[in-house]
């Protein structure tokens, strides 16, 4: 067929970087506008606050992106965050050393991810279904474990962490880099990262090319579970309690961040920097709306509309870029 006639596409790498830049430009534009229109936006206090707000969704969005690139979805991450706060709180209150408690909590996240992998690969369940099931079950298990109460964490050092800063930047934001940089190397410069893309694009072709498709899917959900459990630890530190109903709806914010960041829900398209920027764009919108005294109910509406607008324009730009 004469599809050869279709003109050369721009090299993918440049294009990705360019896309990252447009998102960054949007973020900077929002910041500039808000600095002029409100007195408090540009204050050090507010910026720290903004970074803290965005950080946790950003980390969730990275894990979510791995899954979405394989053509799947992880609806459980919000529930995993809530559940992880309970586990972390219980372990710390039981007198287990904090680093060990954190490690064990992370392992719980890994276990949940492996369970998702098992359900998808071995039981043949659609990702949407198995993670939806986990979403409701985990909240239930957490409530059973806590009898519906919050568990106060009695460890000041643990709670200090999320309030402190290092080099003037909130610790929580450093955690984004701690996750983001290895995630970037993993996704864009490692063999397994390539396999995430190839499985998301065509699982059968990947299998016939010798790619271990099952392992790749296990890996994606495990990483997402791990990121979610890590966020759970951070949230427990920030609010000082373990409560299974925390982080309600964060899975949708994570998915939205990922999609705003250029991830395709059809799989095989995505990056690490995109979702990070997406998460901070969402955080900025919420933060700015608060400062501008926009009704909290309207904020939700505005967020929804902005998701449509951003993703629509991204789609337009992509099509015209071809």
């Amino acid at each position: 067929m004469s599809t050869e006639a279709i003109p050369a596409e721009k090299p993918r790498r440049n294009y990705n970087a360019l896309f990252g830049l447009t998102l960054l430009a949007l973020l900077v534009l929002l910041w500039v506008l808000l600095s002029f229109s409100t007195s408090s936006f540009a204050s050090a206090n507010n910026i720290s606050n903004l970074l803290r707000q965005g950080s946790m969704i950003a980390i969730l969005a990275v894990g979510q992106t791995f899954v979405i690139i394989t053509g799947g979805i992880d609806l459980s991450v919000g529930a995993v965050v809530g559940f992880a706060t309970v586990i972390a709180a219980m372990l710390i209150n039981a007198g287990i050393p904090v680093f060990l408690a954190i490690l064990l909590t992370l392992l719980v996240g890994v276990a949940i991810g492996l369970f998702h992998g098992f359900g998808i690969v071995k039981m043949g369940l659609p990702p949407f279904i198995i993670t939806l099931a986990t979403l409701t079950s985990l909240r239930g298990i957490g409530l059973l474990m806590t009898n519906g109460n919050s568990i106060s964490i009695n460890n000041d050092a643990f709670q200090e962490f999320s309030r402190n800063s290092f080099l003037g930047i909130p610790n929580l934001f450093w955690m984004v880099l701690l996750v983001g940089i290895p995630a970037y190397v993993f996704l864009h410069h490692s063999r397994w990262g390539r396999y995430l893309f190839s499985v998301g694009s065509n699982a059968e072709a990947s299998r016939l090319s010798g790619v271990n498709v099952q392992r790749t899917i296990f890996m994606a959900y495990t990483l997402s579970g791990l990121c979610a459990a890590f966020v759970g630890v951070l949230l427990a530190s920030r609010i000082g309690i373990g409560n299974p109903t925390q982080a309600e709806g964060w899975e949708l914010q994570a998915i939205a961040s990922s999609v705003i960041g250029g991830t395709s829900l059809f799989g095989a398209v995505g990056s690490v920097h995109g979702p990070l920027l997406g998460a901070f764009i969402l955080a900025t919108i919420n933060n700015g709306a608060n400062l501008l005294n926009v009704n909290a109910f309207w904020q939700r509406v505005i967020t929804g509309v902005l998701i449509i607008v951003i993703v629509y324009f991204d789609g337009l730009r992509r099509r015209s870029g071809k």
Binding site: M1, S2, T3, E4, A5, I6, P7, A8, E9, P11, R12, R13, V185, F186, H189, S190, R191, W192, R194, Y195, F197, S198, S201, N202, E204, A205, S206, R207, L208, S209, G210, V211, N212, A268, V269
Partner: protein
């Protein structure tokens, strides 16, 4: 209101022999490419007009212009004596111009009847008249002589049957001008014969047909006239009676037919793989040996068990009996991974479903099997990744702007080169090519065959599956014939003639196939 095939008689068509559609200097430019240089051509009402040419010669562009999918750059289209803009697919359809594509573009999850009437549903007070539509659809299908039920889900039919439905669908829409774009690429001989019957019938009813195919014998079987495109230029139009294979191929590629099947006879070396009494899903008790430096051809109808045999050999499916020897040693192949580790490579039958990651870059596709080799502790060497990809692109002469272009943006032939090429760097010893030249033009075919020779001279062995007899006949050192899951005959190079091999592949079913072979 829906029309049946019978109604076609009432459709006013231009008297046979008169010009129904005329192209005057029709031209299409893309940024950087001149896809179609000014073409002037007149189609006569009621003729079957074949268009042949290599991939990228401009055939698809021509179709897209005629069906209103893309706007033309310049030139005029005269439809029944009046200029037509053909700016939208809707306009083309309203005039009576329709197309049946190589890949079926219908709704797989709906019933045959629902697909037949898609967009023109029969409803009363807003309620679909489902039973009436099924009845109507069945009448049309029966009228066309297809033995297919109208109430089943389309996706449950074979690709070939779906293709027939797509063709039937086009005929009920008051079509006066119907374009077939390589309709037989995925059809069995029987299905192809049914399709040809349909096409001839449409012609008798006054419909003008454009028939695009890579298969010369189909062109000679069907067409009244044939036009040849090369590099976006109309090289010429011939009456079918006044031309022959050799002339058309020369016009298409500027090369003689003997140069296409490039074959060197090497003395086969040691056995690479031996299948002993292998059985599995879809095939039974198959034994064969592939030695270094030889091509083993597997010929048979689609569904005869050839693909099932090789995918089982490759570990994709479980064998139920028998064993496999690799370089003389008994081996267990439980997964594709085991097969690849031994040194097997499979270029599968369907490049879209099994061969390529279409929305990923060419480079990634080429490197997919060798990422283990070009990475250390998981980290990929960027430099090696780039040089490997670029080398493959250069060696295989893959036409792509860069290694970063998406595989989907390449032509069929170039995509096929990726499917094959990704195994070259891997350094396999046994290459399995399942229908490597389906939908590929003559020029690319020749390149693929030369690639085979290169692999053989490096000591590799090849299993070549093809439903196209001339291909296996001219290339295979050993030719196995499959029928209904069994290996029924084995021939050396040119030790049997086409007729015998065909008879063995078809056996008792032959007389039902409507003659021509």
């Amino acid at each position: 209101m829906t029309s049946t095939a019978q109604d076609l008689h009432d459709t006013p068509v231009v008297a046979p022999g008169r010009t129904i559609l005329e192209l005057r200097g029709l031209e299409k430019k893309y940024p950087g490419t001149h896809a179609l240089k000014p073409v002037t051509l007149a189609f006569k009402a009621g003729e079957i007009h074949a268009i042949v040419g290599e991939n990228g010669a401009g055939k698809s562009t021509l179709i897209k212009l005629l069906t209103g999918v893309m706007p033309r750059t310049s030139g005029e289209v005269i439809w029944e004596g009046k200029p037509a803009a053909l700016a939208t697919p809707h306009e083309a359809m309203a005039l009576g111009i329709n197309a049946v594509h190589q890949e079926v573009v219908l709704c797989r999850h709906l019933t045959v009847a629902a697909n037949m009437f898609l967009g023109e549903e029969n409803s009363r007070f807003g309620i679909l008249q489902q039973r009436a539509m099924v009845r109507e659809a069945q009448k049309i299908i029966d009228g066309l002589g297809f033995d297919l039920p109208a109430h089943v889900i389309l996706g449950n039919l074979t690709i070939g049957q779906q293709q027939l439905i797509a063709a039937a669908r086009a005929t009920v829409r008051g079509t006066k001008f119907l374009i077939f774009d390589e309709p037989t690429a995925y059809l069995t001989r029987k299905e192809a014969d049914q399709l040809f019957t349909l096409i001839r019938r449409l012609k008798d009813e006054g419909v003008t047909i454009i028939y695009i195919s890579h298969r010369m014998e189909e062109v000679f079987e069907l067409a009244d006239r044939v036009s040849v495109l090369r590099d976006g230029t109309l090289v010429g139009t011939r009456d079918i009676a006044e031309t022959n294979d050799a002339e058309l191929v020369r016009m298409m590629i500027n090369r003689s037919i003997e140069q296409i099947y490039h074959k060197e006879h090497l003395t086969p070396g040691a056995p690479i793989v031996e299948a002993r009494n292998l059985s599995g899903k879809g095939f039974e008790d198959v034994s064969m040996t592939v030695r270094a430096g030889e091509i083993v051809g597997l010929y048979g109808l689609i569904g005869a068990g050839r693909s099932e045999f090789v995918t089982t050999l490759y570990g994709r499916h479980r064998k139920s009996a028998g064993h496999v020897l690799w370089e003389g040693k008994d081996v267990q192949i439980n997964s594709e991974h085991d097969a690849i580790k031994l040194g097997m490579a499979l270029a599968p039958e369907s490049r879209r479903d099994q061969g390529l990651c279409l929305n990923l870059p060419v480079g990634l596709n080429l490197n997919l099997p060798i990422y283990k080799r070009i990475s250390r502790n998981l980290l990929i060497s960027g430099a090696q990744e780039r040089t490997q990809a670029d080398r493959q692109i250069a060696d295989l002469r893959i036409k792509t702007p860069t290694r970063n272009a998406l595989a989907s943006s390449l032509s069929g032939g170039n995509q096929q080169k990726i499917v094959i090429g990704k195994w070259l760097a891997h350094g396999a010893k046994l290459f399995i090519f399942d229908e490597p030249t389906v939908g590929v033009d003559v020029g690319t075919k020749a390149e693929i065959y030369r690639l085979f020779s290169a692999l053989l001279s490096k000591g590799a062995g090849i299993i070549l599956i093809s439903s196209y007899l001339p291909e296996v006949y001219e290339l295979a050192d050993t030719l196995h014939v499959f029928r209904r899951g069994k290996l029924v005959a084995t021939h050396g190079f040119h030790t049997a003639d086409h007729e015998d091999i065909l008879t063995q592949a078809l056996a008792e079913k032959q007389e039902k196939l409507g003659g021509k072979t």
